[in-house]
Symmetry: none
Subunit: 206 residues, 4 copies
DNA sequence: AATGAATGAGGATTCATTCAT
DNA sequence: TATGAATGAATCCTCATTCAT
């Protein structure tokens, strides 16, 4: 038993190692430079070995993709403890932004890269993750309606998309350095301020 | 003089030709497939020739970048004729979205690609274009304030960024297919509806 | 004893299984796609296991080679029941052709592939099979002579080779698609017609 | 002018060099071992250079294929000088066999390899060469009919295929070493003897 | 001004084989 | 007996770039 266990653990460990370095490469050098070869170099295994753990590059990508969503959900789950419905929605947005800024490569993979979707369009799982995320937002919008923060006739779908677009806009412009033109200001503060303003506008939904 | 003139003109023409085909390749086949070689093939010049007109691939990218901004400004300029300040702001957002959806590769280059910025961080021109764009928004926000649509104490910078983030969020999520999970709905309509809702929220700025 | 027996039987069974799937792969996907790995995948054993039963890929090839000859002989044996000596020879040719067309990969392995011979030149068995086959033809030629269909001074060796070359020529050109230039005709019919004509020419041996 | 000439010549020379080494590799190591890399190694150029002269491996193959047919036709053309129609046909067969034995790798490429046809099925040229070859045989069969060597009602198509199959059978079995089982005899003599016997059988067509 | 020729580096994969267990 | 894990070497091909001309 212990032998099988150890083998299992070792297998898992290498899988993790591959994913870790793949993620790191993504982070450090971007998607284009993330090749099987370079990952292999970094983990000091042969390229062929990676193919023992992942069918092909897309499979590796998919694994990273799913992992990233898991991380995102973990990051978002903390807001559940916020008692007030509206404050909870605000916390969700903040947590989303924070996750994006702290995990740029994962964020890119999930929401900004063409590659994974093109290659994996067929796979149903991909949409599930995104669906789950947007459903979370919708649920919170409904909560806000239930507690009188939003009008009853507000469409939760549209509202959720609006919220998502706003935070994604902020995160993605920041990650792609498009706020660098405001050189004289702290760009992260810019995001906070903007998000704060956005939250205020939401109050007209009452 | 006429000889120098002609040479000058010819030089400009070839520069234009290169840019034109580069743009076309971007549009038809995307960023990844746009290689110096392929551009050279299409203009029926040698790859080496391109290097006489552009230092390297990044330089070519920068030129396209600037050109794209010119196009964007053209697309946005039409809103000037809208008389009402608030309506003009709304029209601006709509025009921006429309431009993004209609010119996906240019939009990507301007606002979503890492490549041009990383390589050209030093160049001041890059920021100018973005600056000009955001300034345009700020101006319109000021107009809205002047005409009583927005409170006097509203910060035009933050507001402009918020507006930009919203429309960029919508456009970029759409371009990267992240609305595909709403399979049963017209995705462009989704954008319109969301933008419409966003506009309504702006009215609480009054 | 019974334990040893069982082990023996199991060993034989796995050997058979390997050969069976190797053959199937040959047939379904051709020689190039038949790799040790793919065979291993299909029998759901590890690639390393195959090396316990066959020294290397060539050894496996040799086994298939011998097996194929067994099949060929089975296919040819049916003609024994044809009473007339000349008709029997004709039937032999037809059976050979039919076997070739129906078992293209085996046929290739036996008569068209370089691989098995190069690697196994040393092995005597290889020639035995071919020898047995050509001997069969010679015997039938002798029968024809005995029954007055062929002149007594006809050299059975040369005649046998001529017969073999003719049918092999037809089969191999067909298998390698070299009759495709006769696009407007049924290629199998072409073979039948040609073989028929060839048989007629044999009558001048009388 | 002389510069362009020289460049042209150099280009041709390298093209020839590539083809020559490709052919040599075919001959020495067989089709499977003939890779772009190995060719590049032998000509001491980089693999990428080969792609400047040939679109891809198939293109290179096609060139070799056509070249080989040119050689074959040259080899066969000598028989034109044989005055007697039947002797001419015999000479054609002998020349074909001789060509095959002397140029094994070209012969394989033209008549025994799957690869070129699979990859280039679309290309019309391929069939043209084969067509031209078989037409040559048909013409000679017609000549034999015209001069009373063959019956008037003989089908030239079927006859031509029969002749082709016979010589191809002999050549291909020889090239693939399938005559090695007649160890005690000179294999080339075997071919001659067999072809001689075959020629005799043709006389019953009178 | 223009280019033909060349290449080193790198891309994703697949393979036959080995070896410790 | 069986295998999981690993790999070096190979495959075809594309790229941005340089340089002599």
């Amino acid at each position: 038993m212990s032998i099988a266990d150890r083998k299992d653990r070792e297998k898992k460990e290498l899988t993790e190692l591959i994913l870790k370095e793949a993620r790191a490469l993504f982070l450090e050098e971007g998607f284009e430079k993330t090749s099987i070869r370079r990952i292999a170099d970094r983990i000091e295994y042969s390229p062929a070995t990676i193919y023992l753990y992942f069918k092909d590059k897309n499979d590796l990508l998919l694994a990273l993709h799913q992992e990233s969503f898991t991380h995102l959900f973990e990051a978002l789950s903390s807001v559940a403890s916020v008692p007030d419905a509206f404050e909870r929605l605000v916390a969700l947005g903040k947590a989303y932004i924070e996750y994006g800024l702290k995990n740029p490569e994962e964020y890119e993979l999930m929401f900004m890269l063409s590659a994974p979707l093109e290659a994996l369009e067929c796979r149903h799982e991909l949409w599930c993750d995104g669906q789950k995320a947007i459903d979370l937002v919708k649920m919170m919008v409904d909560d806000c309606k239930a507690h009188g923060y939003f009008r009853k006739d507000l469409d939760p779908d549209t509202t959720a998309i609006m919220l998502w677009a706003q935070v994604h806009g902020l995160v993605s412009l920041y990650l792609k350095q498009r706020f660098k033109m405001f050189q004289d200001q702290d760009q992260k503060k810019l995001i906070d301020k903007t998000f704060g303003l956005f939250i205020k506008t939401l109050q007209c939904f009452r």
